[in-house]
Structure formats: C-alpha cells, structure tokens
C-alpha cells in the first residue's frame, strides 16, 4: 500500500470530489490519498462520496485555512 497526496486547493466543490474520484480510480485497494482543499464543503462531500463508493475516510483536519482529508481506497 502506498500514500499519495492530491492538491485540490482553490477548487470549489464538486471539483475536489471529481479530482479525488479520478485519482482513486488509479490507485490500489488500501492505498491512501491525502486531499488538500480550501473549500470547506469538501469536509462533507468527500466523506459522502467515500460512503457511497466503498472507500473510507481515515483522517480529516482543518489547519491554516486548509481542509485535509485522507481517503483509504476500498474495493469498488
């Protein structure tokens, strides 16, 4: 399993979700993806997207105006 990061700063939702969706599609099960956003809406939308698509949010924090969400890739 590997860890990756995705810069989704300055994007308004749903763009951070779309970028997460497209990046996760390239990763393996149990890989983790740290998504860095500035739209606080991502705090709701990325977890919602994970719930309906079989992935898991393993970390979520807000610091310095950024929202950082870590997604663990599940079996789709």
């Amino acid at each position: 399993m590997s860890h990756y990061t995705l810069d989704a700063k300055r994007m308004m939702c749903p763009m951070p979700v779309i970028k997460t969706q497209d990046r996760v599609a390239e990763l393996q099960v149990d890989d983790t993806l740290e998504v860095i956003c500035t739209d606080p809406g991502a705090l709701n939308d990325i977890p919602a997207w994970c719930r309906i698509n079989g992935h898991e949010v393993v970390g979520s924090k807000e610091e310095n105006g950024e929202v950082i969400i870590t997604v663990k890739v599940g079996e789709e």
């Binding site: 300055r10 749903p14 709701n44 939308d45 919602a48 997207w49 719930r51 309906i52």
Partner: protein
C-alpha cells in the same frame, strides 16, 4: 433460465425528480447507478456558502446526498470544457436568460449514452416530466432530446413514461410500464406524494432549476463579460467569479469585483495573483479585484468606488493598498465616492 439483472444509469441533478425517477426504476429490480455532470454553472450549496451569512445552511452536494439516500454509486463527470460549445453555440437557442436548456439536456443524455456503452449498462433514466419546464420538458421537445442525443428508445423518463411511446426497456419487459408514472405539468403534488410513499422527507427543491444560467442577474453578468471582451469565450475562473461579489463596471474596459463580506473576501483573495486588487488599509473594508487593463486614472476611480463600500465611506480620506498583477503593491489615498455618484448603470 437465468435472468440477467439489467443496469441503468440515472442522471442525478440532486433535485426531487431525478431522485424519484431513479427510485422508481430501482423498485423494479434494476441495478441503478447515478451520473452527474459538472458544467461549472451548477448551483451548489457551496457557492452560496462562500457568503458568511449563509454558513448556517448545510454545505452539502445534493447529487451526492441523493445518491446516498438511494444507496447507489454516483459518478461525477467534469464536462466543463465540452460544455462551452453548448453555452456559446446552442443550436436550439437560449431560454428566458442564457440557459441553453434543450441543448444542455441533449448533451447530458448524449454523454450518458456514451457512458452506458463504455460501462456495459442497458439504458438511461432521467427525471424529466412533460410540461414541467418551458424549453426542454415539453411534449414536442422530449423526442428531440432522445433523437439528437442518440439515445433513442434507451432513454426512459419514469415519471411521465405513460405519456410517451414505450421505450426498449418497456418493450423488452425489463420495466413494467404500468408501474411507471403519468405525471405532467408544473404541479409538484404528484412528486411530493410519491416522495412520501417512498419515505423521502428531506429533498432539494431548487426554485430556478439547478443552473446559474437560468438566473437573470447571473446571465446579465455573463453577457457583460462577453461584451467587454469582445468575444464569446470563458474559462472556469470567469464563471466562478460571476457568482461572487458586487460587480461594477464604471468604464467599458474594466470592472471591479467587490466582496460583500468575509467569506467572499477569502474567496476573492485566492485570485489576487491573477488580477490587480485593492484593499482598504485605513478602515475595515472589502477586497476588490480589478478585471481589465487600467490606467492610473482608472485605478484612482476604482479606489474611490471601493472606499465607498468600506467603513471609511464618510471619512475625508481612505487609504488603500493597490497590488498589480505583477505583485507589486503601493499605498494610495483617495476621497470616497459619494453614493450618488456611483451610477446605477455601472452595477452589472
């Protein structure tokens, strides 16, 4: 005999109709997944949430929320680039404002048709209802969407299916036509009754549809953008900025985008490397972006207007920091423009 479970993709806008249409087909044992196309003009709770006063409202993406209520996957597709041609050159023209509804629906169904081909799905579901929308949801235009999108009889509108010729899924017995519906017109009562039957209590009911192009004020700013640039083109940043702030064009060659509160201030500050900007320093006040090529006189005029929207509007002088696109800043002092001199027709 082994029966194959049929698969359908539902266009999910996040509103009630697409929620019900997908549910009606799921009730018949079909595997349904959702698809949502992001054009850049989609009305999202988040866009409104830029403004601090709206922060109490839930920041949810309704399409994701609908998918979660239905327990289905949702595929969100970025169509920003392809969609430009629909907005710039709609073959069926615009609706009341800059909304190319008929071309838009045809485009989305066409994209969904491509998607089902690529993913081995059998048909497409939309939440359209005859007579509900003046342009795209009329008895005479609904066949146009089916035909021009290429989807033909693979396009099922469960909420008004009984008013339309049987589609392939109905002819093949994948769907029981009798269990589909005969809704029509602008009334929402049948949808609300069906929502209650299915146990959906909380759902989005956007008054003007789900697209900013149906909004009169937004469309006016959009047309102004094209007029000022002398060409019908746009980028995502352009159309995002039209959703935010007070837009004032005191001269044809430049406009000022003035934040109205803290949330918009934060949002606009993300664009300070792309635009020249003004920020009051002697008094609390808005951040303003300057769009266009400005002379020193223009900057002075813009500063006076921005000062008028600051806490220093009644002061003799207001100090502002001007930052050019090159990142170089300088302080300047101006007399705030009296409100009576901010001409009505400068407001876009």
């Amino acid at each position: 005999m082994v029966s194959t479970q049929r698969k359908a993709v539902a266009l999910i806008s996040g509103g009630l109709d697409s929620l019900l249409a997908a549910k009606a087909v799921m009730e018949q044992g079909v595997h349904v997944e959702g698809i949502n196309f992001y054009t850049g003009f989609c009305v999202e709770g988040h866009t409104h949430a830029i403004r601090k006063k709206d922060k109490a409202k839930p920041k949810r993406n309704n399409a994701l929320w609908v998918a979660e209520q239905l327990g289905i996957k949702l595929h969100i597709v970025d169509v920003i680039e392809e969609y430009k041609d629909i907005v710039i050159n709609p073959s069926h023209g615009y609706g009341a404002h800059m909304n190319p509804c008929l071309d838009c629906k045809g485009f989305m169904v066409k994209k969904a048709h491509q998607w089902i081909d690529e993913h081995g799905f059998d048909f497409i579901i939309t939440g359209e209802v005859i007579g509900q929308r003046p342009m795209s949801q009329r008895k005479d235009t609904m066949p146009v969407i089916a035909r021009e999108s290429g989807a033909g009889d693979l396009l099922v509108r469960p909420l008004c299916a009984q008013h339309l010729p049987p589609t392939l899924p109905e002819q093949e017995g994948w769907l029981d036509r009798e269990k589909l519906f005969d809704f029509s017109g602008r009334t929402r009562k049948p949808q609300m009754a069906l929502a209650e039957k299915y146990g959906f209590e909380d759902y989005a009911q956007p008054a003007g549809g789900c697209c900013f192009l149906t909004d009169e004020h937004y469309s006016k700013k959009f047309v102004d953008l094209w007029d000022a640039r002398g060409e019908r083109k746009y980028e995502l940043d352009d159309i995002m900025l039209l959703k935010v702030g007070r837009h004032i064009r005191p001269r044809k060659h430049f406009k000022i985008i003035i934040s109205r509160e803290e949330g918009e201030n934060n949002f606009l500050s993300g664009y300070r490397k792309m635009f020249a900007s003004l920020k009051t320093t002697s008094h609390a006040g808005p951040l303003a972006l300057l769009d266009g090529e400005l002379t020193d006189d223009d900057i002075e005029l813009a500063a006076r207007i921005v000062a008028r929207y600051s806490q220093g509007r009644s002061a003799e002088k207001v100090e502002l920091e001007f930052t050019g696109k090159d990142g170089v800043s300088r302080l300047m002092e101006v007399v705030p423009m009296p409100p009576s001199q901010v001409q009505e027709d400068w407001h876009i």
